[in-house]
């Protein structure tokens, strides 16, 4: 038994943790007890998606990925994005979707159908997968492809259709060694959103950081590859380790001060050339930065709403500060078309993500936002969530009914379980 938690560290959970190689995965199915089993990647999901309290949480041993010259990588699900980048970059290719950390695994990326700062132009990871190899709850091995129902249920399926053993992923040519990043500093949310909309169409990568304490003023960053075509090794530096602290260093006061200082950073009004790590994975620079929120941890609230409900972005920022919350920098992204994943999060519109220490009354504010996000046809991201209610989940993910049909076929005995599933009632149980 080990005590595990999500990246937000709000809940800890006792699970049997085991590491198996992909070849032993079938044997692990047979050993599942009454509380079922789950495959866990690197535990970069914030809430309870990768927890299975009282049951088994397996991790798959990483395997060496193989890059094919036509720009395709074949890799085991336990392989981290860091390892994938180390393998692909020297051959002139990069990963098509780069979430905000390099520590996640390929399996976790597929199970959450992750997105990057290029969602508007390039979609989520589902759009780049040629094949996903799945071991289902009945011990059957599937090689699923786009268009298959098993593919649509597994990509974004939060690990509940079976064990993803590996995948074939199309790559993006690394057009340069570095990124040319242009920043614009803007005084309010309306201007930030207008600028981000333009930036996301103009440049492959675009994101905005917004300050909830100051009417959503923010910095819009857009980036494209630059320099000679990349053929170099990938060696992200990591210098700092955050210490464990007895109390959260993030309070309304410090969050306000940090956001203001960030907004004023001189780099935030010019164009510069930077590395992949500092543009895509700035937070990875400090190891275990999540410990800075103290023993009670923190929540990340990420939602997407269609263009017609764009005002919910500003409403959310306003309500979170008004309620005495301490929203750290909000991250705003522009989303394009949804993938075929039946439980996938990204859909056209605006996505906002904020990190929040659990202050009193926060639950009620977030419940209120959930209701409006759901009514607008939006959704909360399951990979970040630790508190959504089962009822609103159904409204946010209307394709869950189709998903359940495929899921019960793939896991007729209900072997795969997670705390997220227990909380939201994802899997239909007799």
């Amino acid at each position: 038994m080990a005590r595990l938690s999500g990246w937000g560290r709000t809940t800890s959970s006792l699970c049997d943790d085991e590491r198996v190689s992909a070849t032993d995965a079938a044997a692990a199915l047979a050993s599942a007890g009454a509380r079922g089993l789950l495959v866990r990647g690197s535990g970069c999901s914030y809430g309870d998606a990768a927890l299975n309290t009282g049951g088994t949480a397996l991790t798959l041993a990483p395997e060496d990925p193989t890059v094919h010259p036509h720009g395709v990588v074949v890799a085991g699900a336990g392989t981290s994005f860091e390892t994938l980048l180390r393998t692909t970059l020297p051959t002139g290719w990069t990963l098509p979707v780069l979430p905000g950390t390099r520590h996640l695994t390929l399996g976790g990326a597929i199970a959450a159908d992750v997105h990057g700062k290029n969602h508007l132009q390039d979609g989520s990871i589902a759009a780049w997968l040629d094949e996903v190899v799945l071991l289902d709850g009945a011990g059957r091995r599937w090689v699923t492809r786009p268009g298959d129902p098993e593919f649509a249920a597994t990509v974004g399926g939060m690990g509940l259709t079976g064990m993803i053993l590996g995948a074939t992923l199309r790559l993006l040519p690394a057009e340069g060694t570095q990124l040319e990043v242009s920043n614009q500093r803007l005084p309010d949310l309306d201007q930030v959103m207008a600028a981000l909309d333009v930036a996301a169409r103009r440049s492959r990568y675009a994101v905005a950081w917004v300050d909830a304490f100051a009417r959503g003023r923010g910095v819009v960053s857009e980036a494209r590859w630059t320099g000679s075509p990349c053929r170099r090794s990938y060696a992200p530096a990591q210098h700092l380790v955050a210490p464990p602290v007895p109390l959260s260093v993030v309070t309304p006061l410090t969050a306000r001060a940090f956001n203001a200082a960030w907004w004023r950073l001189p780099g935030h009004e010019r164009t510069s050339v930077t590395t992949l790590t500092s543009f895509f994975h700035p937070l990875d620079g400090v190891r275990q930065w999540n410990r800075l929120y103290g023993p009670r941890g923190f929540l990340q609230y990420q939602f997407v709403v269609p263009d017609g409900a764009a005002h919910l972005v500003g409403d959310a920022l306003g309500e979170l500060t008004a309620a005495g919350g301490a929203p750290f920098l909000g991250v705003l992204k522009r989303f394009g078309d949804a993938s075929e994943g039946l439980l996938s999060f990204p859909r056209p519109g605006w996505s906002l993500a904020v990190d929040l220490p659990p202050t009193p009354g926060l639950g009620a504010v977030l419940d209120g936002l959930d209701t409006r996000v759901a009514a607008a046809g939006g959704a909360v991201y399951l990979a970040k969530d630790a508190r959504l209610s089962a009822e609103l989940f159904e409204d946010m993910y209307p394709r869950v009914k189709e998903w359940r049909d495929v899921q019960t076929r793939l896991d007729p005995e209900g072997l795969f379980r997670s705390d997220l599933d227990r909380r939201l009632g994802l899997v239909r149980r007799a």
Partner: protein, 246 residues
């Protein structure tokens, strides 16, 4: 399961009409659509018990004194999912039990035997869930029985010893136990009795339990000062204790 903001999802109250049990539920931070399961003898009274807005109510038949009731209530309560919290609130005062053998047996069967049987069964489930919390409503009377109702004191002493042992037994299984030792609480159980010093209200008990749960405590006295007063009472010499009209 408690969610990321610490809110409770499924709560079982043994003694579902208990004033203190319901005051605990009222004080808790519950998920907006939390399920509260009320177990007791009188289904109509359970259906009418006051619960916070929005929560889903499930009423379960359970009589602490009837054989086999523990297994049945455990099965029924765990059918719909994991239990996050069990509040053991059933109990009778049994005034005059020291002169009425039948009543004495009923007090022990309710407060001690029946409740312990239910808690043993439920603890087994919680242990395999690897999470959950048990709140046991003991009493100061468990520490210092009063001459006026020492059968009750004996029944609570038995329950209290069980709860302490359970807490140790469940240590590091992910399941926690909170022993609550209220003094005199104004309410239905004590209606018509002269109030003892340091009397409190059901709401005080609810608040104290919530705070103790949030802080991860294993014992809470209500009011808090009893924690120091009660042990002192146990040192009061017997001749004096006998003469105190408590």
């Amino acid at each position: 399961m408690r969610d990321g903001t610490g809110r409770w999802g499924r709560v079982l109250v043994l003694g579902g009409t208990s004033e203190l049990g319901l005051a605990v539920v009222d004080a808790l931070d519950l998920q907006p659509r939390a399920e509260v399961l009320l177990a007791g003898r009188d289904l109509d009274a359970l259906a009418a018990a006051p619960l916070p807005d929005g929560v889903r109510r499930t009423c379960l038949h359970w009589d602490a004194t009837s054989p086999g009731a523990a297994a049945a209530v455990t099965d029924a309560a765990t059918q719909g999912g994991d239990l996050d919290l069990v509040v053991a609130a059933a109990g009778i005062l049994g005034l005059g039990a020291h002169e009425d053998a039948g009543l004495a047996a009923e007090v022990l069967m309710t407060n001690t035997a029946g409740l312990i049987e239910a808690l043993v069964t439920l603890a087994g489930r919680l242990r395999s869930q690897r999470h959950g919390t048990v709140v046991v409503l003991s009493s100061v009377a468990a520490v210092r029985p009063r001459r006026s109702n020492y059968v009750y004191g004996a029944s609570k002493a038995g329950l209290d010893a069980f709860a302490q042992g359970l807490a140790d037994d469940l240590h590091s299984t992910g399941v926690r136990v909170l022993v609550v030792r209220p003094g005199f609480v104004h309410g239905r159980m004590t209606a018509g009795l002269p109030a003892a010093p340091m009397a409190t209200s059901p709401e005080d008990v609810g608040r104290a339990v919530r705070l103790a749960l949030d802080r991860g405590r294993s014992t809470v006295w209500v009011p808090a000062a009893l924690r120091w007063v009660a042990p002192v009472l146990t040192f009061v010499p017997r001749p004096i204790w006998r003469r105190l009209d408590l």
